[in-house]
Subunit: 493 residues, 2 copies
């Protein structure tokens, strides 16, 4: 993996450059950044195939949870965007459409920065009574727009892939249950399928989403130790319901505002985080279930021995069709590149299993198999291949999972005082777990002090799944008052 | 199906109103037109589910034909859009983004009206030599934008669903083969799966797409007799290759411009045409393979007989799970609406098969089954249901297909003179098949005369699949010169 300057970045020492290279033309060709509008990128086939799988995992999850698909326009009229006052805070980042041809539009239109203000006016029309609740809708395979100052493929863009659910309930209890379900969906998809470890935080009160009462996020750690947020769920309370008049007539005949939640797994960021966490200096490593090619077959042929080469090609194609019938995504590389080149290329693209077939293999009725996650080459008898592949697939995912979990656990450390935090973050990456005075608004001062004195360590939140126990002697690492919560703090992407 | 004014439109007599009603809130709830930007609509779950299936049919087809998925930005810089001179004709319909927040953008950005001018600059970078060809890419599940003056759900919109392939070849022969493949894809999807009859035309020379050498379209007929174009394929020749420098080094070492084609099935229009052709005054009728619910089970329960009602519900749920295991999309309607209301609602939504289960059915170990396409109610023993359903599904599709084909055939008529055309179109709908002097530029005058004198009958083109024979005595229906082609003419949507 070399860029045009010929240098090859190392993930451990220069994550940022490594990441750029792996995404680009000299890497796994996931994106092309040469599109002529800054911050807007072109998705190439390899990334599209993985991203579609990630989308499909979330579609499956939300459908199981009775969400229905819908699609809203790409544009939002200005007056709607501004209607929820807090939410109006998005406007500095908004792209505006003001002309059609030569004609100025009567009202200017925002390229959707997020869905709330476009969806809820319609929810207000669709919901009449408790019979219409819960209402659970989602948009998938859409993009959204924010004029970010700095951009990086899959991590931050001016147009990026989006997925969002928008749910409406009679009671706040149902809203809270939904937040728990959103967490489970994140576990089922990114932890179990994609092998991305994360913590599910409730954010401190001073750092919730515009217009939300509470915000919950799934946060992981990149190889440079920075925290990355890969999903958010918002408990919107009545805020948007009041702004957009989302009301229902209850069983008691009374009209009430509904409770709303929304959930947005960051499709792009999840992919970017997966690239970052699993990849190595040879390229991508992909969990078996999302690999666009799961098994690549590389025939080793020799111009000098056309007879044997013919047989090698025949066997390659025969195996391809047999494995396709077993529902593997398989490809025979028949290009006229050298085997060495092919090995590197498919390693770079993260194909989990490689099968080489050469004349010597043929003689012994075997193939040479290797997994992307190991250096080992195995000779496998052809009639045993069928049994060996599931084992290798499982091993591929196990290596990814164990490596990722180890890195994640190693990068959560405990501190009791501001000095300890400072000392830890000198050579530590990831989360610092600290006792903290308050996650309500009165804790904001300590969070600000923490950030200033540590050159950017933010309070991310506290665990939603379990109440973490404090010792009775625990005091806030910043102000020294009695601690009320264990919070997690980190530098962020 | 009644609108707010309480009147119910009839498909035969008032197609336009019937179509609006079936799409809307008082119909099958496919769209909501109350979004606050004219011409931009909200897709509700029922239409999203069908549209996703239609997308998946095309994805499957183009993948089989070795196209690779890609995704380009929603915005195109102005200079690229204007680079292909003919193509620049799109600009009166273009929405322009000029601001981000308060800042004016350095260059204004068009909301994509179609993909050529965004994709080919990158193709120019990706293609080096014949080894990179053919290059076949596609974008699916995207939308595109044109400031149309009049809009109708799924037929014409300011933002509408898009699907496009963009192919690059060494030779023009390969481009022509691709056009034939595009035709086959249309047959496999819309004719075979969706039961939409169409003709595949080569358009007359005076009416090709901006920047194309030749244009080919799939055209069907709506119930009001208007021609509707549901796909286009363009033979782009070297036009865009020259504008965007799409070149390759051939086997001979020489640099040449590549030949390009692009293919765009109109996902929206295909859906709209399917609604229009198959529906009746009771609502949608859907081919079995795209129905979001293929089988609806309606339990008939009585408050007075809780014992029997309980058994009815048990059997309903048991059947639901059995049919789900057989891969049917099935739903038990457990809402507290009346059976009559439910019957109407699911008819309106076009569910192909309805199963009623009442206490009397239970006693006789049977269910009452009816198909959307027939008025007949069948008593089917429960243990025979498994065998009966595929038969009913097939029958559903057969009725749709035969009805559609009959209407289509009945609406292709022959005329030899302008007077005959005029007389036919008085009470005829659909295509008139006429001998014509020329489909090259010199035929344009006759086409214009035809249009003027018939109040809008356009020459659509001539069949691409087969050269239709002319009698040696055939003369152009308009100018009387020797005819060189049989053309098809019609009034258009």
């Amino acid at each position: 993996m070399t860029d045009k300057k010929g240098s090859k970045a190392n993930k451990q020492d220069n994550f940022s450059e490594w990441y750029s290279q792996i995404c680009g033309e000299t890497g796994a060709k996931l994106v092309d950044l040469r599109y002529d509008v800054q911050g807007f990128i072109v998705h190439r086939p390899w990334s599209m195939r993985v991203l579609r799988k990630i989308y499909s995992f979330f579609e499956e999850e939300v459908e199981k949870d009775n969400h229905e698909p819908m699609l809203f326009p790409t544009v939002i009229p200005e007056e709607h965007l501004l209607k929820e006052k807090e939410h109006a805070g998005f406007t500095p980042e908004v792209f505006w459409v003001e002309y059609a041809g030569d004609k100025k539009l009567e009202k200017r239109l925002a390229l959707r920065p997020t869905g709330e203000t476009q969806i809820y006016p319609l929810y207000s029309l669709w919901i009449r009574s408790y019979n219409d609740l819960p209402l659970k809708g989602y948009q998938s395979r859409i993009t959204t727009f924010r004029n970010e100052m700095t951009t990086r493929p899959f991590l931050r863009g001016r147009e990026f892939m989006f997925f969002e659910t928008h749910d409406v309930f009679e009671t706040h209890d149902e809203a809270v249950s939904q937040i728990k379900k959103d967490l489970i969906m994140m576990k089922n998809t990114i932890r179990d399928k994609l092998k991305i470890p994360f913590l599910f935080f409730q954010r401190p009160k001073w750092d919730v989403f515009k217009g939300a009462d509470e915000t919950f996020t799934s946060d992981s750690i990149l190889p440079d130790g920075k925290r990355i947020q890969v999903s958010s769920t918002h408990d919107l309370g009545h805020n948007f319901a009041k702004a957009f008049n989302v009301q229902f007539v209850g069983k008691d005949g009374k009209r009430s505002y509904a409770f709303q939640t929304c959930f947005g797994p960051g499709i792009w960021r999840i992919f970017g985080t997966m690239i970052a966490i699993h990849g190595d200096d040879q390229g991508l490593m992909l969990p078996f279930c999302v690999a666009p090619v799961q098994v690549v077959i590389i025939p080793i042929t020799f111009v000098k021995d056309p007879e044997a080469s013919k047989k090698v090609l025949e066997l390659s194609k025969k195996l391809e069709s047999e494995l396709k019938n077993l529902n593997y995504s398989v490809l025979v590389d028949l290009t006229n590149k050298t085997p060495g080149f092919k090995f590197n290329e498919w390693e770079m693209k993260g194909v989990p299993i490689r099968i080489e077939i050469g004349p010597r293999d043929l003689e012994q009725n075997q193939v040479t198999v290797s997994a992307r996650t190991s250096k080992e080459k195995l000779a496998v008898k052809i009639n045993e291949l069928k049994n060996k592949l599931p084992e290798l697939a499982e091993q591929n995912d196990k290596v990814l999972e164990e490596t990722a979990i180890k890195y994640f656990k190693d990068n959560i450390k405990n501190a009791k005082t501001l000095d300890e935090v400072k000392s830890i973050i000198k050579d530590h990456r990831g989360f610092v777990r600290i006792p903290f005075c308050s996650v309500m608004l009165d804790g904001k001062k300590c969070a600000e002090k923490l950030k200033t004195e540590t050159n950017g360590v933010d309070v991310c939140g506290f665990l939603f799944e379990k109440e973490e126990k404090l010792a009775s002697s625990d005091t806030c690492a910043v102000c020294g008052k009695k601690a009320t919560k264990i919070v997690y703090a980190a530098k962020s992407v």
